[in-house]
C-alpha cells in the first residue's frame, strides 16, 4: 500500500464553472477522495463504470476490436461519406478539438458542438449585438446586483454562487450575500429562486416581451406599457427596472430558459441590448451559463481556426457557417449527413428523437468514456481517457478564461487527442493506398 498523494488545486472538468480549487487524494493510482468539488464534479473525478475496449459492429452486434482496427474502420466510414458530421466536443480538451478540426478539414465534414442545442442562440445573439461581459472575478469583487434569468445554478452550477456570484466575497463586496440583491427570473420556482431577494415568475415563452418591457422602463418610456407583460404586473416590472438601474455593478447570468424557449436567439439579442442600454446608466455585464466544462473551449478553438465558433461546414474546403442549415440538428433533421462521429457528447440522448433517428440509418463512430444511448446506435465505439482526470489539456471557463486541466491518475486508454490522431493517420494511410491503387 503506497502513501496517498494529495493533489491540490486540480481543475474540475464537469461544468462551465471550471472550479480550480479541487483537492484530490490518489492512492494506488486511483482517486480515493475529492474535496471542495460539488456532487457533479466529485462524481466525475471519483469515477464510475466505463467502457474499456473499442468495439466494431459486425452483423448487428458490437464486438471487441483493437484500437488500430477501430481507427481504420472509423477512417473508412469518414472517407466513404460525402458529408460526415463531427459532433460534440464539449467535454473534452482543446487539444482534442484541434485534432478534430484537422480531421473535419481532411475528410470534408461538418464540425459542430453541443452549443447548438444549448447556447447556440447566445452565439447568434452575440453576432447581432456583441457581448458586454467580464471575468467571473469582476462579479465576485464588484457586483451588488445579480440576476439569474432562465437558469438554475443551484442544480446546474452548484458552486457558482459561492465562488463567483451571490455568496462570494470580494474587494468591493466584503459583505457577500448580505450586500447583494439577487433577482431570479423563471417560469417556476427552483432551488435558485428560493434564495432570491426577488423572484419574478413569467409566463413561459414571454421572455422577449418582459425584456422589452424592462428596456422601455429603463429608457423612461414605461407609460406605453400595458398593465401586465408576460404575466408580470407593471408595478413589479418597474420595481425590477429600478433595482437594475440603481445597481453599482449589475450582472445578468442566463441559461437555457431563454435559449430554448420561444424566441431563442432573439431573446438573447434582446437581453444583450438590455445590458448595453443599462451601461448608459450604470455598470452592467452579462454572461451565459455554459453547461459543459469545455463547450466554451471548442467555440474558441473553432473560431480561431475557421472564423466561426460552431456549425462549420468544411465540405467544400473553405469554412461555411449558417446555423439553421449547418447545425447538427438541421443536418440530421434533413437527413443531410451520411456518417457521424460523436465525441464527448451524447447526441442520441440530447437531440429530439426524430432528429436523433437520423443517426440510426447512417454509420456512427462514438468516442466517449461512458456507454450511453449513442453507443446503442454506434458502429464503431472507442473508449477514451478522461481529460482533467487522466489527461492534461486546456479548457475554457464560462467567462472565457483558459485553464490547464491536470492529470491525476494514469490510464491505459488513449486520450481523445491520441484517438483522433490515430484516425487521422488511418485516413492518410487509406488515401495513400487508394492513390497507389489508382496509379
Amino acid at each position: 500500500m503506497s502513501e496517498a498523494i494529495m493533489i491540490r488545486d486540480a481543475v474540475c472538468s464537469f461544468c462551465g464553472c471550471l472550479c480550480d480549487d479541487i483537492n484530490v487524494e490518489v492512492e494506488d493510482g486511483k482517486v480515493s477522495r475529492v474535496r471542495h468539488a460539488c456532487r457533479l464534479g466529485s462524481s466525475k473525478i471519483m469515477g464510475h463504470g466505463r467502457m474499456q475496449n473499442p468495439m466494431i459492429r459486425k452483423d448487428g452486434v458490437l464486438v471487441a476490436a483493437s484500437f488500430p482496427e477501430a481507427y481504420d474502420r472509423a477512417a473508412e466510414i469518414l472517407l466513404a461519406a460525402s458529408k460526415p458530421l463531427l459532433y460534440g466536443w464539449a467535454s473534452t480538451s482543446c487539444e482534442a478539438a484541434k485534432k478534430g478540426i484537422l480531421l473535419a478539414e481532411e475528410v470534408g465534414g461538418v464540425l459542430d458542438s453541443t452549443a447548438t442545442v444549448c447556447h447556440g442562440p447566445s452565439v447568434i445573439g452575440i453576432e447581432e449585438k456583441g457581448l458586454p461581459g467580464a471575468t467571473l472575478g469582476q462579479v465576485k469583487n464588484r457586483a451588488d446586483t445579480i440576476v439569474f434569468w432562465g437558469c438554475n445554478p443551484a442544480e446546474a452550477h452548484p458552486r457558482h454562487s459561492l465562488r463567483y456570484s451571490s455568496n462570494s466575497c470580494g474587494k468591493f463586496t466584503p459583505q457577500g450575500r448580505e450586500g447583494r440583491k439577487i433577482i431570479v427570473v423563471d417560469v417556476r420556482e427552483t432551488r435558485t429562486s428560493k434564495n432570491a431577494d426577488k423572484f419574478m415568475r413569467i409566463v413561459p415563452g414571454s421572455d422577449y416581451e418582459v425584456i422589452s418591457a424592462l428596456r422601455m422602463l429603463i429608457a423612461g418610456k414605461g407609460e406605453i406599457l400595458p398593465d401586465e407583460v408576460g404575466g408580470v404586473q407593471k408595478a413589479d416590472l418597474a420595481d425590477i427596472a429600478a433595482t437594475l438601474k440603481s445597481a453599482r455593478f449589475g450582472a445578468i447570468f442566463f441559461g437555457l430558459g431563454i435559449t430554448h424557449s420561444r424566441g431563442r436567439y432573439k431573446n438573447i439579442d434582446n437581453a444583450l441590448s438590455l445590458v448595453a442600454e443599462l451601461n448608459s446608466h450604470t455598470k452592467f455585464v452579462i454572461m451565459p451559463m455554459r453547461g459543459h466544462y469545455n463547450v466554451g473551449g471548442i467555440g474558441q478553438v473553432l473560431a480561431w481556426s475557421s472564423g466561426y465558433p460552431m456549425s462549420v461546414d468544411f465540405t467544400r474546403g473553405a469554412p461555411y457557417f449558417n446555423p439553421g442549415e449547418t447545425a447538427a440538428c438541421d443536418l440530421l433533421a434533413k437527413r443531410d449527413v451520411d456518417a457521424a462521429l460523436i465525441i464527448a457528447a451524447d447526441a442520441v440522448s440530447n437531440f429530439p428523437h426524430a432528429t436523433a433517428e437520423g443517426l440510426a440509418s447512417i454509420p456512427v463512430i462514438q468516442i466517449d468514456p461512458y456507454e450511453n444511448p449513442t453507443t446503442i446506435l454506434s458502429d464503431v465505439v472507442i473508449p477514451c481517457a478522461i481529460a482533467g482526470v487522466e489527461v492534461e489539456g486546456t479548457a475554457y471557463r464560462m467567462d472565457g478564461l483558459a485553464l490547464r486541466l491536470r492529470k491525476l491518475v494514469d490510464s491505459s486508454l488513449p486520450s481523445d487527442e491520441e484517438i483522433l490522431a490515430g484516425i487521422l493517420e488511418s485516413v492518410h494511410k487509406l488515401r495513400q493506398r487508394k492513390a497507389n491503387e489508382g496509379a
Binding site: R8, D9, V11, D20, D21, C94, K98, E105, V123, I126, E127, E128, K129, G130, L131, P132, G133, A134, T135, L136, G137, Q138, K140, N141, R142, Y164, C169, G170, K171, R248, F249, A276, N279, T282, K283, V285, G299, Q300, V301, A303, W304, S305, S306, G307, Y308, P309, F314, R316, G317, A318, P319, F321, E392, T394, Y396, G400, L401, A402, L403, R404
Partner: protein
C-alpha cells in the same frame, strides 16, 4: 542559401541600396555559404518585415471573430496541400494571419496587448499562427498590484511584480493602456487626464506610467514601456500626449533605446474641442518628437474601409459603439484590465475620418528621423495589416496623396497640413520604419537587419529600385509590396509570388527577468493575499505553463545578480 545580386536595404548596418549577395546558413545570416540560389538580381531586398504593434492573438481578437461572422466570410480561401483554410479580413483566422504576413514579406509580428490572466489563450492562438516569429506585450496599467506598489512608492516590489507578471504571461514587454481608466471602467467610469486620481486606488495615471517606466528600466527590459495614452480618440487630446511624454523625459533608459514607445500616435494627435472643430495637431506632436529623443511612436494609420476596433481602452470602445450604434463587446478582467471590441468603418466623405487619415501620414512625414516612427495601422483598428502597402505608397508618393486628398471631404485641407508636405519617403526610410526601427525599438537584436548572426529572414520584392520612380509609379510599387517575390524565414523560402510553400512554426519570444529573491518573497505576500481573497482562480493555476510555448524563446533580463568576488 544565397540571395544573388539584390539591391539591399539594411539601414541598421549602413547599407542603403547596395547591390550585394546575401548568405544564409542554418537559419542565420552569414558571411558566406553555399546552397539554394535565389535570383534577386536588380530586385529590392530587405530584412523580413517586423510588425511591432498588431492585434493578432488572444481573447479580444477571438471575440472579434465570434461577433463578426460577416467579416469571416470575406477573404475565404479553401485548404490546399500546404495551407489550412483562410477566412476573415479585419479578423482573420490564425492561419490566414501567418500566410498573409508572409506573403507580404513580413516575418515577425507582436501582439500588442495581453492581460496576464488570459495569456494562456493568447499563446494558444500564437502557436496556431504559422511561419512568423511572435511575441506578446503584457498589460500592466490597470493592475491592482501595480497601483498598490505605485501608491506605496515601492519601486523594487513593482519591478519584482513586473518580472513575475511577464514570466506568468510569458510576455515580452510592458504595455500600458489608458492607465487607471481601465480600473475606473470596472465601475463604468474613466479617468480624464494623467493627474486624475483613479477611484479607490489613490494613484494617478501619471504615477502609474512613471512607476512602470522606472521599473522597466530597473529590470533592463529589451523594450521600453509601450504606452496607449489616456484620452485616446478625443478631440484636443494632443495635450495629454505632450504632457505625458514630457513627464517621462528625465528617465534614463537602461539600454540604447527610447524610454517610451507611443502606440498608434495618430489617435492621440487630435486638436479641436469637439468633432465639429476637429483638426490635426500632428505638427505639434511631430515637433515634440523632433526635439526630444526619449520617445518613439508607431503611426496607427487609418485607412478607408472596414476595420474592427479592439483595445484595452474599454471606455473608448463603449463610446465607439454608442457613436455608431454598433454591436459592442466588453470584457473586464479581474484585478488587471478592461477591453472592448466594436466593428468600425471609415469613410472618405466623413470629415473626421478623412482628417484622421491625414494625421497618420502627417506624423510620419513631419518627424524627421525615420528611426522614431514605425509604419503600422494598429491592425485591425485603423485597417487590416494586408493594407500596409497602401500606407507605404502614400508615404513614398506625393502625387498619390494628392489624388487621394482630392476624393476626400472638402474641409480636409483646412484641418490638416498634409497637402503642403512635399516629403516623399525613399526605400531607406521604409526599410527603417518597417524593419530596422521596429526591431531596435522592441530590442530584438537578431531581427530587422541582415548582418552576420541575424535571423535569416529576408524579403525580396519584384521591383527594381534603381529603375522604379516610387513617386510616380506608386500603383506598381503597391502591387509589388503586397506580394513578395520571395519571403525567406530562417533560411527557408516560405512564400513565392504569393504562394505559400512551407509553414514552419515560428518562435514566441518572451522575457525572463531576474529579481533578487528578497523582493520576490516580499511580493509573494501580497500576491498570496490577492489570490486568496480576490482572484477567481488559484495561484497554482494562474501562470502560463511550458506546454503552451513549444517554440518559446526566453530573452533574459533583470537586475544583475551580485556574485561573490573571489
Amino acid at each position: 542559401m544565397i540571395i544573388r545580386g539584390g539591391i539591399v536595404y539594411d539601414p541598421a548596418n549602413g547599407i542603403y541600396g547596395d547591390e550585394m549577395d546575401l548568405f544564409i546558413d542554418k537559419g542565420r545570416m552569414v558571411e558566406s555559404a553555399k546552397g539554394e540560389e535565389i535570383d534577386a538580381r536588380g530586385l529590392l531586398v530587405m530584412p523580413g518585415g517586423v510588425d511591432a504593434h498588431s492585434h493578432i492573438a488572444g481573447k479580444k481578437v477571438n471575440t472579434g471573430r465570434i461577433m463578426r461572422p460577416d467579416d469571416a466570410r470575406l477573404g475565404t480561401q479553401p485548404r490546399t496541400a500546404v495551407c489550412r483554410p483562410s477566412t476573415g479580413y479585419t479578423v482573420p483566422n490564425c492561419y490566414a494571419m501567418g500566410y498573409r504576413y508572409a506573403r507580404m514579406g513580413y516575418t515577425t509580428a507582436f501582439e500588442a496587448a495581453t492581460p496576464i490572466l488570459e495569456a494562456r489563450h493568447t499563446h494558444e492562438e500564437l502557436e496556431e499562427i504559422p511561419i512568423i516569429d511572435k511575441g506578446a506585450l503584457t498589460l500592466f496599467g490597470n493592475n491592482w498590484q501595480v497601483m498598490e506598489c505605485v501608491r506605496d512608492k515601492d519601486l523594487s516590489k513593482l519591478a519584482a511584480y513586473v518580472a513575475w507578471g511577464l514570466c506568468s504571461a510569458r510576455g515580452y514587454g510592458v504595455k500600458i493602456v489608458n492607465p487607471g481608466g481601465g480600473e475606473a471602467w470596472g465601475f463604468g467610469t474613466n479617468v480624464k487626464g494623467i493627474n486624475d486620481a483613479v477611484p479607490n486606488f489613490d494613484v494617478t495615471p501619471a504615477e502609474i506610467i512613471r512607476g512602470l517606466a522606472e521599473a522597466n528600466e530597473m529590470l533592463r527590459l529589451p523594450h521600453s514601456i509601450h504606452l496607449h495614452f489616456n484620452n485616446l480618440g478625443k478631440p484636443g487630446n494632443y495635450t495629454t500626449a505632450i504632457e505625458t511624454l514630457d513627464m517621462l523625459k528625465d528617465i534614463k533608459p537602461s539600454r540604447m533605446r527610447q524610454v517610451v514607445h507611443v502606440a498608434h500616435m495618430q489617435f492621440s494627435a487630435y486638436g479641436g474641442t469637439s468633432w465639429r472643430d476637429f483638426e490635426s495637431k500632428a505638427p505639434v506632436i511631430a515637433d515634440y518628437f523632433n526635439c526630444h529623443s526619449h520617445a518613439t511612436m508607431d503611426m496607427g494609420q487609418l485607412l478607408f474601409g472596414s476595420a474592427t476596433t479592439m483595445t484595452a481602452d474599454a471606455p473608448l470602445e463603449y463610446g465607439n459603439a454608442r457613436l455608431t450604434h454598433n454591436k459592442w463587446s466588453n470584457h473586464d478582467i479581474e484585478l488587471e484590465e478592461s477591453s472592448g471590441v466594436v466593428p468600425m468603418a471609415y469613410f472618405r466623405k466623413m470629415l473626421v475620418n478623412a482628417v484622421q487619415w491625414a494625421i497618420g501620414l502627417e506624423l510620419a512625414l513631419l518627424v524627421k528621423d525615420p528611426w522614431k516612427v514605425l509604419m503600422t495601422t494598429d491592425h485591425p483598428n485603423g485597417s487590416p495589416f494586408v493594407n500596409y502597402p497602401e500606407v507605404i505608397t502614400l508615404l513614398m508618393s506625393r502625387p498619390k496623396r494628392e489624388a487621394e486628398m482630392a476624393t476626400l471631404h472638402d474641409q480636409v485641407p483646412k484641418r490638416t497640413t498634409l497637402g503642403s508636405i512635399e516629403r516623399e519617403m525613399d526605400w531607406t526610410d521604409i526599410a527603417i520604419m518597417t524593419r530596422a526601427a521596429p526591431a531596435r525599438i522592441l530590442g530584438l537584436e537578431d531581427k530587422g537587419h541582415l548582418g552576420p548572426g541575424a535571423d535569416g529572414d529576408v524579403s525580396v520584392y519584384d521591383l527594381r529600385p534603381e529603375e522604379v520612380d516610387t513617386s510616380q509609379d506608386h500603383v506598381l510599387v503597391k502591387k509589388s509590396l503586397a506580394t513578395a517575390k520571395y519571403t525567406i524565414k530562417g533560411g527557408v523560402v516560405v512564400s513565392k509570388e504569393g504562394q505559400i510553400l512551407a509553414t514552419p512554426p515560428g518562435r514566441t519570444f518572451w522575457v525572463d527577468a531576474a529579481v533578487p529573491q528578497l523582493e520576490a518573497d516580499r511580493l509573494m505576500v501580497d500576491l498570496e493575499e490577492k489570490f486568496a481573497r480576490y482572484y477567481s482562480v488559484q495561484m497554482a493555476n494562474y501562470a502560463v505553463q511550458d506546454a503552451y510555448l513549444p517554440h518559446g524563446k526566453a530573452i533574459l533580463a533583470g537586475l544583475p545578480i551580485l556574485s561573490e568576488v573571489a
